[in-house]
Symmetry: C4
Subunit: 256 residues, 4 copies
């Protein structure tokens, strides 16, 4: 019986492709809990249906508590977590602590305490979704590609930082006199600069003098380079990670 | 005669490269009908020339009805749709239903009923354009590339979702007090967050406090990564799909 | 003497790498003329220094006339354009017509007529810069890559068009009632839609209802895909064009 | 002793991977000095804690002076800079001049003179960070990729320039009458044009007439191509630079 529970709860142990029904249900539950935590912050919703939120909260904590106990019991199938000491070792793993943090505050305070920080803790459970099924392989591919070119990526962000400071300094010089509120210092000009270089362009602050606009245009064009650089680095990193994986699959037996 | 009709109407049966004259005419008709359906929604145009719209509508429905009957008749060339039962089977195919939906409402109501939903149905016909000629090969290349890296793409969208929630929660915390209308809850802050992370940047809502602006700047920079990630994934996926296709063309006889 | 003139004027005939001094001077002149034509449209500049603009105009027309006659004379070096009939054939070439259009209006009207359309004609000369030196090779690489994947690129633009219409129709449905001025018809909603999907985001029109904002958020996220798709296609096309060129350089003798 | 100083100060001489403790401290110092120079421009901060800024300034100049003298002394380890004349030769190197510029103004004026231009000089030191450790290898990869495709990149920027002028001229023609302040000349329309083509989209100036909006929509869509082109070029350039590097590593002994 514990064996079956382990197979259904542990994603890597599930013999078939995809997710076990239990993990699908838990994923749905995690997303629902996160959605609830988000909607809870809106007062008009919260005061409109206080009973619904309390009831849903209770249900979710109950479900997560059952899941936590079930995982704790099933962990005995893994030789590392066998016995009482093994269970304590399991409880100290990263994921088990996240699981516990999502239910402990509510249990300890008997539901009376439900501040914002506790609500944010629930959002942490969303992280667990990345462990599920085939996403773990995709996650590995992405993180390998990023890791492979981390210095190039860091360098493009450093170049972005330099550009930010440079364009802020320029605008501060030529536009600071006309609009002291928005461009009166480099930290102030940075707000405009970051909005322009990332091509967000809020438009709450824009240069009005001719030299300011010319420099702003150059900044905006440089922003394209700022987007093209990390994108190009990542694209080549993915191609490379892919080719390497394909070469591995060909030479050795498939690893999955 | 039915054979010639079939060759002219069925894109895959046309012996020469490109589209048959009949299909070019139908493509032009579909685009015109869509354009008409779009312009119809503008009252100043509709009330300015009511006769033109009614006449054009009649013409288009007539042309589509003729096309539908011609396709139904020509379908007999395909062994699957031979005979009366075959025709009924043809009428139940996906494309035949779309074709029928575009003319049925007008015919049933005798043109009296022409509500918005019926107009939207006409836009559905635009989908058929994707089947035509060489686009089907390009379409296959794009959808293969997307399918190949669907998990990486879903993961980048999941990462985008996490970033959206994270930045909304941060701005809600630091900016909620100063601007309760725009940042008073996570769902409210999401509006700002999605506009910033996608680098749209409407500027109708912007943080005004110093910590809010610093977090907004970090969010905007993270938005570059959000764009770079799926772009990089897609670029490598296209390269890979291309190489595979080239390898296939080399080993076997050209398929086109 | 005609031989030397031909070597200096015809970019492909210049024996050394780079541009001949004469072509460098002409390139500078073309850019100056374009800059002048742009600045001329600004009334405050034009009425502030009318003599400068007239004088510069005269100088440029003179220089272009000399260049035109010199090219006409030097064209005789090319066997195709030898003799009087050959010169007439040269005058009918695409570039010679553009060259003539840039000076003819001023000469015919004796400088009296200088309307906007004539000014735009001068900007046409900018096109000639693409023929110069090594840019022609880079130009060939870019146009080959675009040509190679023209159907995929057209399809991504078609997908962009479908998305534009779809999001306009959605916003028209949910937001049309609240803001009839901006979302009262699909053509009106298209203005908002194109600004959002291309991530420009002017912010002059934004949805204010909750369902409108949810759909706008989805549209903005879809806009990332809209940018990622053609970028990915182009990136893989460049890689492919490059590889092909490298393979060609290896097998045959270097062509440059 | 001079030998040890040299090993700790010269990044390429450090025998272990990563940075020496001395260079980590200097990097932190450079970033702090830059941060200080940025914050100094904000009057509310400067007048709020004048003593802090003066004290921090003194400390930084002192530290940089010590570093400069230490580097000058340690430079003797390099055969090129041995002896008095060698030291003078070292002082004329690019980096030594930047190092000197960061401290000289303060020393000469005894801290009395601290104008904006002097503050900007301090930001120059940020450039030195690019020399450190493994970043130099990433820097080489990025600059090689950009250099490899410099003509294609220049051409995409030239195409961007042509698009900018073209869309400005169009909007000037159709929108100039309705909004003379914003579109009354090509230079004025350029401000809108650069904000639209780079997808920044401030929204301070937007077309209001129907033909103006249609042209603006086309411009915004062209802006996607403007971003896709250099990104695609860079992505393929990185892939190529990478493949070349991998081929080199395979054939010869690893170079790092």
């Amino acid at each position: 019986m514990r064996r079956r529970l382990y197979l259904h709860l542990e994603p890597t142990a599930w013999p078939r492709t995809g997710l076990s029904p239990a993990n699908v249900a838990i994923a749905v539950l995690i997303v629902s809990a996160a959605l609830l935590a988000i909607l809870e912050t809106e007062d008009t919703l919260r005061s409109g249906a206080p009973r619904f939120f309390l009831f849903a909260e209770l249900l979710i904590v109950l479900a997560f508590s059952v899941e936590y106990l079930a995982r704790l019991y099933a962990a005995g199938e893994d030789p590392r977590y066998r016995g009482l000491w093994g269970r304590l070792r399991y409880m100290r793993t990263w994921w088990a602590i996240i699981d516990l943090l999502a239910i402990l505050p509510f249990l300890v305070t008997m539901g009376a305490q439900n501040t914002f920080l506790l609500r944010l803790l629930k959002l942490l459970r969303l992280l667990r979704l990345s462990r599920l099924g085939r996403f773990s392989r995709a996650w590995a591919a992405i993180s390998e590609a990023i890791h492979l070119r981390r210095f190039e990526l860091m360098l493009s962000f450093a170049a972005a930082g330099m550009l930010l400071i440079l364009s802020s300094a320029c605008l501060y010089l030529v536009e600071g006199g006309a609009q002291p509120e928005a461009f009166g210092s480099i930290p102030r000009a940075l707000w405009w600069s970051v909005a322009t270089l990332t091509t967000v362009g809020y438009g709450d602050v824009t240069p009005i003098t001719a030299p300011g606009r010319i420099l702003a245009g150059i900044t905006a064009l440089a922003g394209i380079g700022l987007i093209a650089l990390p994108t190009g680095v990542l694209a080549s990193a993915f191609s490379d990670a892919l080719r390497r994986q394909a070469a591995q699959d060909r030479s050795g037996p498939p690893g999955e």
